[in-house]
Symmetry: C2
Subunit: 98 residues, 2 copies
Amino acid sequence: MAKKDDKIKYNYAFLFYDVKENRVNRVFKVCKKYLSHFQKSVFRGEITPSSMMSLKKDLKKVIDENEDFICIIKLMNGNVFGEEVMGVGNDNGESLVL
Amino acid sequence: MAKKDDKIKYNYAFLFYDVKENRVNRVFKVCKKYLSHFQKSVFRGEITPSSMMSLKKDLKKVIDENEDFICIIKLMNGNVFGEEVMGVGNDNGESLVL
């Protein structure tokens, strides 16, 4: 994967988290600083490679790597994907968390 | 988004679910039929547009759209993204679910 990363410039990302409840707020706030809240535990948005590094650094500070899980999909831009949402994804859930 | 979908052929997908515990097994099995289990509640893999339609149809049968949430990111192929995993994502968790 590292090799591929060298060749492609990623400027857009999806981020999904699955973290213990007592850390959700902190993780949410870090993600919100760099990306837009999309649905439930999903964030997305344009992000430069250097901001991506800061995001990961900030996340490392708030998660417990033995219990929490974060997955980031990096894309070249916001035009290379399609999306489907099923279920309660229609309410953004933000009000519940902040 | 529909317009964009008409132009681009998507043959790869990421799928993330956030469903009530009593439906996790059923959702997991449906996803497993069409995609590969990646990490925790994340699946991914090559999938044709027609299989994608079947996947969504099958998911609709097992989820409660008022309580569950499924997000599918469709990509042209498996070479257009980079990925980062933080935390417990390193164990695939499959043994816990099946």
